[in-house]
């Protein structure tokens, strides 16, 4: 039963992910950068967006209760932005665990150039302390942010992501939150060109993260 529930939640998250506008679902190999037709664009394992998405401007409170200006704090870095919740049984812990495992392999120097930002879509249950405790299971350097539901929904919309959906409560009062399942990867030069849907494996992250950190782009201007 547990497995069925988890799988169905994954399916919901993936389905929500599939609702995003076409800019988020573009696949395939884009044209080579700089008009050099003979230079093959790097092949990323993430899903390359048809159009770049600017790095968003927003400020939310972090787990220490301090304002965190996403644009300023992540400037010049590879930023992996993910919207989820700490009671999530599958998508969120799997993404966080896989990213943490691969970042751990990269070494301190390259690790410094990556900021992983988790934004809660369940502010009612995700207290700052709970978010911190949950993120620390993966990597204490991960940033946890919290805002009210309207703020977080607005940020997601600005990125072209669907806002999260509260599922009906179970008899024991628990509930699931349907949310976009992709991690949005912002390049050091600013915009996002690639997203990583649920199903992205450690091997995929291990392949793409060094490229992202090095500022390699999949060929978009």
């Amino acid at each position: 039963m547990i497995r069925l529930r988890s799988r169905s939640l994954s399916a919901l998250a993936i389905a929500l992910g599939s609702l995003v506008p076409s800019a988020w679902t573009g696949c395939g190999k884009p044209p080579a950068a700089g008009g050099r037709e003979d230079a093959p664009a790097p092949v990323f394992r993430g899903r390359v967006l048809a159009e770049t998405v600017p790095r968003p401007e927003f400020t939310l409170l972090d787990t220490a209760g301090e304002p965190y200006d996403f644009l300023e704090e992540t400037r010049g870095k590879t930023a992996l932005l993910f919207f989820g919740y700490t009671h999530c049984p599958d998508v969120c812990p799997i993404h966080m665990g896989n990213i943490a495992a691969v970042l751990n392999d990269l070494g301190v120097e390259r690790r410094r150039h990556v900021e992983v930002v988790f934004v809660s879509t369940d502010p009612e249950r995700d207290t700052p302390g709970r978010i911190r405790e949950w993120l620390d299971r993966f990597d204490p350097a991960f940033v946890g942010l919290r805002g009210d539901r309207a703020e977080v929904d607005a940020i997601q919309r600005s990125l072209g992501l669907p806002p999260s959906v509260l599922e009906p409560r179970a008899g024991d009062g628990s509930y699931a939150v349907g949310h976009a399942a992709q991690v949005v990867a912002f390049s050091p030069d600013g915009p996002a060109r690639i997203v990583y849907p649920f199903g992205t494996r450690q091997a995929d992250w291990a392949h793409d993260l060094p490229l992202l950190i090095a500022g390699t782009t999949p060929g978009h201007p």
């Binding site: 547990i2 497995r3 599958d90 799997i94 665990g97 495992a101 450690q202 091997a203 291990a206």
Partner: protein, 247 residues
Amino acid sequence: MGVWALIVVLAVLYARLTRPATGAGPIRSPWRTISFGAALAALWLGLDWPIGALAAGYLASLHMLQFLLVALIAPALLLLGIPGAVWERLAGRARTSGILRLTHPAAAFLAFNLVVLVTHWPVVVDALMGSQAGSFLIDMLWFGGGILLWWPVVAPFPARPGFGYALKIGYLIAVTITMTIPFLYLTFTSLPVFATYELAPPIPGISKRQDQQLAGLLMKLGGAVVLWTGIAALFFRWYVGEEGSVA
């Protein structure tokens, strides 16, 4: 449900095969019945909840424990549990040519190792473990492969006078060596190889990589314990036989 059906079928089959003919004495001995019962217990333990459920979609390490129970332990105990009289009866009825070929040590060795390699190949695992039918197919391949593996060592039929204790011991040692291949692959690959377990809801206290390394170690160490127990038993029987013939 399928697990219980399999166990009931095996138990009924055993009861029927070991039922003494009218007027004849009992053909079951207590230790053979215990051995057969232990085989069924190993199957049940490996295939039912919790090991079966967790092995199907959560932990590669439990998938490997399941492999040990279903492919190595249960088949050996099951074959050991069959009384000599039943083997004689089977020898009289069976089409010996097919069994001769299938249970030839070389064929059994190849079949078991093929099953081990194929059923631990990530593409196959990920393709089959997603469904109950696929998962059941892997279980049955393990069980069938295990029966073939142990048959030349345990079963008195078909008689193979040329395949004595020394060769049986060598045969089992060779299996410990071939099982090193998946062990090395699982234990020393830095990234998770099975999407089934990597993308499963995490189990607290064990990372995906630790789980995979534990799976490799279980295969090597657990497999070694089972196979070397068999080797030790063969050596002991060989020694006792030699002593008897000298006396």
